[in-house]
């Protein structure tokens, strides 16, 4: 469990990235922080592994204040995936995946076989292990980034717009892959994005941020869609423009879902059992 307890971040030059933010991320839950640039979402996420230290308030992991923990040890037990894959260009893919086990003193052979297994797990051929990152496509590099984050089997995964730099088709694939991985692994995931569709797809809970880390609304995707807290949220999720205002029309005895411009977008079936 990750808990933000009234955290704030003001830089020495006087700019305030985050004013006063509180949030609880339950264990095994995936929570998405979504907001435009300047909303402080990345700053907040980086407080968890002490890449940023808050100037006020506390961040707690399982009720332990991270400020009291050694940052290096803390970071090794938290997986971190970033937008620019951040792989070491002079190390092979397998070596990159094995970074943390290697730092922790796991033998080269064992960390390598674990790395190759992880590559398979994120949907890559283990033969790619001996390539260098620059020989991989952007989407493959992001998969390697996810494999590296999982290498030390952390309970917590921090994902900072990990799919922001790949094309929409690859992004959709990676999102699906992450959902599959999450259903298998059940990590506690804190995910940051500016893409509301991505947030609704991946987050069990979504937190919409205004500039300065102010929470505009917090809830499940359906709660936010059904009952946007204010105009800001409504605009942000696009419902203000009627983009998501759908209605049903009966065609040949079947319920067809039609959007606001009259374009059919799908056919309504009986509700599936339940997502989880």
């Amino acid at each position: 469990m990750i808990r933000f307890d009234h955290v704030g971040k003001t830089y020495p030059d006087g700019t305030t990235a985050v004013e006063d933010f509180s949030l609880t991320v339950d264990s095994h839950a995936s929570v998405v922080l979504v907001g435009t640039s300047g909303s402080g979402k990345t700053t907040l996420m980086r407080m968890v592994n002490r890449m940023v230290d808050p100037t006020s308030g506390r961040v707690l992991i399982d009720d332990e204040d991270v400020a009291a923990m050694d940052p290096v040890k803390l970071r090794r037990r938290i997986g971190y995936v970033m937008q620019a894959s951040g792989l070491l260009p002079h190390r092979t893919v397998a070596e990159n995946v094995a970074t943390v086990p290697h730092l922790e003193g796991v033998s080269r052979r064992r960390s390598r076989s674990r790395a190759l297994a992880l590559l398979e797990m994120v949907g890559l051929d283990h033969k790619l292990g001996d390539r260098y990152p620059s020989q991989l496509s952007g989407g493959q590099q992001q998969r390697v980034g996810v494999a590296r984050a999982l290498a030390a089997d952390p309970n917590i995964l921090l994902m900072d717009e990990p799919f922001g730099a790949v094309d929409p088709i690859v992004r959709a694939e990676l999102q699906k892959e992450l959902l599959r991985l999450q259903s298998e692994l059940g990590k506690t995931i804190l995910f940051v994005t500016h893409d509301i569709d991505e947030a609704f797809l991946l987050g069990e809970k979504v937190v919409i941020l205004k500039p300065g880390g102010v929470v505009a609304q917090e809830g499940t995707p359906s709660q936010i869609l059904a009952d946007p807290a204010d105009d800001f949220v409504e605009t942000f999720v696009g419902s203000g423009r009627g983009k998501r205002a759908l209605h049903l029309e009966e065609v040949d005895g079947r319920q067809v879902v039609v959007d606001e411009s009259g374009r059919p977008t799908g056919v309504l079936h009986a509700a599936p059992e339940s997502r989880s």
């Binding site: 592994n49 890449m51 090794r76 620019a84 894959s85 070491l88 260009p89 092979t92 943390v100 020989q135």
Partner: protein, 221 residues
Amino acid sequence: MSQLLEAFAWIGDPTRWSGPGGIPVRLAEHLWYTALGVAIAALIAVPVGLYVGHSHRARGLTVAISGAARALPTLGLVTLFGLWFGIGLTAPILAFVVLAIPSLLAGAYSACESVDPDTVDAARAQGMTEWQILTRVEVPLGMPLLISGLRLAVVQVVATVMLASYIGNGGLGRFIFLGLNLQDYPQMLGGSILVVALALVLDVLLRLLERGISPRGAARV
């Protein structure tokens, strides 16, 4: 033209290639002074440069100091240090250290700065210590720039080491100053040609090292 031919004839004279004052001995002395000056300078400049490049601290100050050091005339320094320390090796080596520091310093801090900040950020976020970031990420990736700083320093010093002979030491400068005093221009020119040739050879060797050492994966980016 005939002086140039005479200079080559002087170099080619087999009697110059043996004995205590022969070309091989002077060449070895020349290389030894160069190595000593560059090594002492590297011991000072490389750690400082890596610290500055890694921490982004005191960069302006470092640039200013190395710029100022570059502007110092080495002959003046040799003379000045010679007045302080007297005849011997201390004065010229100190001057060569001052000469070599700016290039080595610039090579070291630009080596760190050349590494993509995202790569460094990711390494830190994975849980590398600052020392591990420096030794496993910044130094390997910046190695070509580090070597290029070394190359510049070596070439500058090797071309300047003849000044050691100016206050009574050995090295290829002996031939130059002896030739100058005796108005023996073939000898003087012969010594100069040897210095130039040595500088070029070292430059080429270090360029090859620079190319050979660039990290495999990074070379393709």
